[in-house]
Symmetry: D2
Subunit: 137 residues, 4 copies
Amino acid sequence: MKSYSRPVFFYETDKMSIVHNANYLRIFEEARLDHMRQSGMTYKELEDRGVLVPQIEAHVNYEQTLIYGDEFVVDIRLVEFNGVKFKYTYEIRKKDTNEITTTGYTCHCFLDEITRMPLSLKKKHPDVYEIMKNSMD
Amino acid sequence: MKSYSRPVFFYETDKMSIVHNANYLRIFEEARLDHMRQSGMTYKELEDRGVLVPQIEAHVNYEQTLIYGDEFVVDIRLVEFNGVKFKYTYEIRKKDTNEITTTGYTCHCFLDEITRMPLSLKKKHPDVYEIMKNSMD
Amino acid sequence: MKSYSRPVFFYETDKMSIVHNANYLRIFEEARLDHMRQSGMTYKELEDRGVLVPQIEAHVNYEQTLIYGDEFVVDIRLVEFNGVKFKYTYEIRKKDTNEITTTGYTCHCFLDEITRMPLSLKKKHPDVYEIMKNSMD
Amino acid sequence: MKSYSRPVFFYETDKMSIVHNANYLRIFEEARLDHMRQSGMTYKELEDRGVLVPQIEAHVNYEQTLIYGDEFVVDIRLVEFNGVKFKYTYEIRKKDTNEITTTGYTCHCFLDEITRMPLSLKKKHPDVYEIMKNSMD
């Protein structure tokens, strides 16, 4: 699987001249949806089946700062998955120095779009269940 | 009608130490939906009736900068309205000095949420049509 | 101390029709800087003295969702403070139902703006140290 | 010069299920700084020389919507440049259909970082002046 990577955008910085703390949750999301896509199923396909994937928990450790001019790489792993809940871990590094800037994790569940109730992926969408299970680290 | 006003948020700044240029369109939106609410109809009520109000044009003149620590006031006017399209103008001022920092306008139309086609407010929602017409400057 | 409160902004929502997960870190920041201001010292004053206050850790539990049309209240507490590091906890509630939607915490340190090295507030800015200590819960 | 292109990010959408109107100014910025980089000078190098490039005017025409799942391409042209002010035009297209979704322009000037006064690029940074002039369309 190809690591997710891109340059810092200017508008992601704040007046401390660093990437604003909230943007790391956005970067986690970019990497996560890219990971799903590479695993064989886009988030859009999930939505088209009426499955929502809200975030239920998030944690970020800010170890070093990213600044404008940096390019970063995200190493992401699906570390827990039981068909109802799942957890990803993230490691963001500067592309040129390989220095870790940020680590964290996010937890998610599957919701039925209509009822907004938790949904068992194994029962309702066994093919997606297999794809997720196989993309576990 | 009460002017829309709030302090600059830290996360709205960029590494030039000013409010990032894209955030003014967000401030325009805050002021616009507040203006609708004060006119007697919330945007949420419009949505509940299946009416969407997308932006079709926007213009911003950046005259002075807003920085963290500033509080701003937005003067907004509904200057054109024909039941299909409408246009608001905006003037953002620093609250303490009354200095104009930003001016601009946005144009919008009404769409049917299902068909995503333009919608005549006068025919479909005459009460909203009256409210909008009465809130014109 | 007055609780921090405001309506959800339309642009804070995403296509799941809820406030996007990253925006809660922004709301935490709004509440935190408001808490500092009410304690007797604005973040801008800290910056003017060459003190930066980066975030070093963040955690969010998403329990219920905020949607457009909601107004929220943030209960924030400074629960740890030793002059070098400090920790705030947050509880976001819907204003009308008092239902908790989101909880979390953030940790911060003080940095010298020039050296970007940690700074002892007690030694360098004893008056700010006292203000922070007194605002602890 | 290679066109700027990327997928829509999930967090760029709003509850109308389209890319939020303010994000197009961010996309313009991404494309603009990429255009400068490809012309032979990064925005970071300009900053390192003490040159700021604020936006003084912006215009957006929203013709079609971008949604999550779309990939877009930005055609950008430097259409005016006199060493003091300059103007870029933008055309955003869906990558798969080539359909134009958004057009617009932005105007900018050069400021001295210290004095925050306009700056003549030709006098102060003739090499950058040449690079900009040569990248005009």
